[in-house]
Amino acid sequence: MTIRILAIDDSPTMRGLVAAALAPEGFDLHLAEDGLDGLARLQQADPHLVITDINMPRLDGFGVIDGVRANPAYTSVPILVLTTESGNDLKDRARRAGATGWIVKPFDDAQLVRTINRVLGL
């Protein structure tokens, strides 16, 4: 089964880096440009895992987590936060909102892949 991943980041560079890290692993990667775009693509991408940035225009990462969790079909899809933020308060907030994990940028390709595999139980 091909694993579908929805990655949401407003930075084209970051989307590129995520794509560069994940595409070779055979993931079916869907990219979105901000929180609203991400939620809009949720149904179509039907992801097994969501990766989201925190600071984004229109709708931030917390909004993404809320939005994904509010969709009955995705109440338990793992959500990884990928951000430069590393404050504990923000992490707590993400956890309470329903995030599955928190990865601080810059990330290591191999570690990102391992974390994804881990979260997906692969």
Binding site: G16, N55, G87, P106
Partner: protein, 716 residues
Amino acid sequence: MAPNDALRISFFEECEDLLARMGEGLGDMAQSLDRSDPETIHAVFRAVHSIKGGAGAFALKSLVEFAHVFETVLDLMRSGEMAVEAAPLHTLRRGHDVLSDLVAAARTGGDDPPQMATVLLELDALSDGSSDSAQEPFDFQPQTIDIFALPEPAAAIPDRARISVRFQPTPALYAAGHEPAALLRGLEELGDLTVRARIERVPVLTALDLAAPNIFWDADLLTSAATDEVAAIFEFVGDLATLDITTQPAAAEEALERPETAQVPAAPPPVTAPDPGPTNLGPSDSSPTNSGPTDGGQPDRGPTDSGPTDRAVTAFPVISTIRVNTDRVDRLVNQIGELVIAEAMLSQAMTNAGLRDDGDIVSSLEGIRQLAANIQESVMSIRAQPIKPVFQRMDRITREASDATGKRARLITTGDTTEVDKTVIERLVDPLTHMIRNAIDHGLETADRRAAAGKPAEGQIRLSAAHRSGRVIIEVADDGAGIDRPRVRQIAEQRGLVAPGAQLQPADIDNLLFLPGFSSKAEVSALSGRGVGLDVVRREIQSLGGRVSITSTPGQGTTFTIALPLTLAVLEGMLIGVGEETMVLPLSCILETMRPTQTQIHRLGRSARLVATRGEMVPILDLCDAFGFEPVQDQSQSVLILVECETGQRAALEVRHIFDQRQVVIKSLEDNYGSVPGISAATILGDGRIALIVDPEELVRHATADTLSFRQAANG
């Protein structure tokens, strides 16, 4: 991580956008101060944040450090802990300049900008004491803070301990996307693991309470890892589960009885269920959903469930874009140009072959012509970009010039959405930079003089762009003292640019500023010494097919006006016959054509002639004579074309014929031949002949200026 070059390039391109957005936002904030839109502050914050994130990925140390400090200050403003006031904004805008320089340096591998240290200190001072202590210093080494800590696989280490973990998730854990199997796998990486799923609390189906924690796991781990490493695996699970970790020394290895812990709620009487033994940790796609709907899964939970999501799509259509190498677009532009020529040649050939009467051919040809014109327009629109980025850069130039001269100046821009050909935009930076510096350095008065003149202490530089009659008009206007004409005249006379005592109109004196060699090096200021005069500005603009002109009112200020063609590739022109030659006159400058009666023409002196039209006397310029063509002896009456240049000066160009009006593709003469006075470029006509494109501006200037002879300026 080995980010490839393409991503690096894309990062720097993104930085350009982000820096522009920041500049704009900071500019808005400087205007609105405490009335600033919070979203503007957020947007600036996000921009610098993205730069920091990307810079981290490419290990750009200085950029990350600077962006971090910058971001900290912005964060204070964003949270309302720091007032949006002029002083910190000034620092932030300087910081933005440094950030721009840092990005440029990172791109080219250059050194850190010299003012970085100073601005860094200023930013530090702003955030000092109030800086968020929870914010860890940014580590630009690639790192992952990992919920399921990923330690190196344990080597065979003698002092292994047995760690027992009882893991009892709440239904909320499943709702947050956690997979118990995945967590337990994390334990497996730490050592030898045995896991038992405890299902004794699972009631019979009819009594099943989905909201209760029905299953829990007991894990035994033989590991050399410390207890906190084990705990770290469950770090992000937090209060979503009850977790008990107990450590026994390795010696107690055989004692497999797990100690009961007080935190485990009193268990209901165990259902007689067989112990399933070690849990299968394979991929499980059923267990999380087994917990059924949870509090996190209520469809009415928030405004962002699937319904509103769909609406959001309609409200914010995502504009998709691609980045294309400009060479490809340029190639397309050239090819379209050739297509236009080919169409003209075909049309001509049809006429020559007498096929013009055939209705089908005519309409097909017209169809092709229309299509070519549409394609051309579409291609041009690809190249066209808002002039905004250049205007934004001028903001910095203004601040720097203002600091350097000690004169307070504010840049006001209008029309920055005006679209201009990309090549033109890039080449406008230098001339505009020079004109803005010039306006502040020479145009604006010092504060006390402004006060004496009853003007506000802060000088205004207005930078505007607009489309006007097929051209792009850019104006740089200051509200300074205006051109000191006696002084300009004095300098020009000293430098031998104009004969002493020559009759000069105010506009003529103003135009002296554009002469090569005028640049007044006598005035040493912080900004001069760059060796650039306005003549260079004029040359740059001319090389873009444009014009620059000047108007000045003493005491009220000076305005420089740049007029540029919309595109560099095509010109809407009128075909005229001059002597035996066919030439092209740009349509944009033509006011009217006329066949004057003798009573309208007045002679002045030996050879000068004027024509009375539109209530004024306009000098007549015989093009055949002006270009030194062989005069043609025929009795057909010549035609006058009234043209007006950007400064408003008019002249009547005398030609033999007016043939046609058409689009011509501009072929630069200077690349292949050299600059010819009065000629801006050449084109290829439908029949394959070459026609020179007349530069009416230059002609008009010389037709109207009696002080500077045509030849004299041509040599200059």
